[in-house]
Homo-oligomer: 233 residues x 2
């Protein structure tokens, strides 16, 4: 896809030059000739960068660099299970549990599935730079993901799904709330009793619209902060 290549090239150019917030980029027509793309393709590439929070466009005025005001926050907009993101940070995981089981009522609701379907259940503890990040309970639908084992679970599951099963994430729903940790969660997160937790439930759909993974995450409230950039268009 040409527009993605162009978007990437522009992004890298911004990063490499370390441009400041509000710096003005060359005009649309200039960029078109620079990257040898039609105006329409250019517009699409810029729309992508705008969606990612890297630039903003002002009609009649220009295209400007947009930076986030704070650092070290986990982006909420990526679907990959953030192995790809947070480049400078070391994310690791420890597998705590692995089994096959039937869905709970909540799971039946979220997947809109048969109560007799089988699910791979896995519980993991994740670390960021060796600090506890979160506890993750994931449920993979066996109907869609026919095989999983502990070894795969210890590496990148989404990488396996993509490469081996050719199963890609099309879109996802996230549900967020704060709550008091359960006793078990507090122990695993190495936090005192009654400490708060940041809960994210996440439902992943394939590109064809079938939900195949539900993930229940409790984040350490001190080690995990999140951010999100939006546009009004």
């Amino acid at each position: 896809m040409k527009y993605q290549e162009v978007a990437l090239a522009i992004e890298q150019s911004i990063r490499k030059q370390n441009l400041a917030q509000g710096t003005r980029l060359p005009s649309l027509s200039q960029l078109s000739t620079t990257y040898d793309a039609s105006k329409t393709t250019m517009v699409k590439a810029l729309a992508i960068l705008e969606g990612r929070g890297i630039i903003f466009q002002v009609q009649g005025s220009g295209i400007f660099v947009r930076l986030k005001a704070r650092d070290n926050y986990i982006p909420l907009t990526t679907n990959t299970g953030f192995t790809t993101d947070l480049g400078t940070h070391l994310i690791t995981a420890k597998l705590l549990e692995f089994k096959v089981q039937k869905p709970s009522e909540d799971l039946i609701r979220d997947f809109n599935c048969d109560p007799d379907e089988d699910f791979f259940f896995l519980k993991r503890k994740r670390y960021i730079d060796k600090k506890v990040l979160c506890i993750e309970n994931s449920y993979f639908r066996q109907k869609v993901v026919p095989y999983l084992n502990e070894e795969i679970a210890n590496e990148s599951i989404f990488g396996y799904l993509d490469k081996v099963l050719n199963l890609k994430v099309g879109f996802s729903d996230k549900y967020l709330q704060a709550n008091v940790l359960t006793e078990a969660e507090a122990k695993l997160l190495e936090l005192p009793l009654n400490a708060p937790g940041f809960y994210i439930d996440e439902l992943f759909y394939s590109t064809t619209g079938i939900p195949f993974d539900f993930s229940q995450n409790v984040y350490h409230y001190k080690n995990a902060h999140f951010f999100l950039q939006s546009i009004n268009k």
Copy 2:
């Protein structure tokens, strides 16, 4: 904008017919003739609906209805201060404090502003269906918003900014975390001491890229749940 009208028309058509998750819509070319728009315009309209989580598209297969799996969650993707959203719910607010003050160090960092600038500070308590929703501390930059009073603060500030000052939100940054409530917050939220809070810091930029409003929100962890839909494109 034609593509926005088309997008709205399709959305309303889906809602009116109360179509189920996964229902297939007419093909791209059929929609083009139905709404009398070129294929390109149609594609853009559909991209918008996809971004809003209303449909999903599968190459080579079709366009399908996407519904969220759960209800009664506050969407994180709108910038309007949610007066517009949550149609069936009654959102009200009570003004607790109103004054002009200089920025704190955090504020100087987020606005990247002069320490001598003046800010309108206002503290509000918000309710959803008469239950406590959150405590909001907002700071409006006087340089951009030259006038505000208690009366305006009691109604829709963003409506005032738009209509009277012609100031629109271009984009925004949100920062999220869980934490233990302070004593004052707990009292205002009518929660016990040491209860958790869901914190959202929000920085609003004008369409020209100038940050003009910083808002620090603490949500009642039982009365406020959030959701977010993403696409992998």
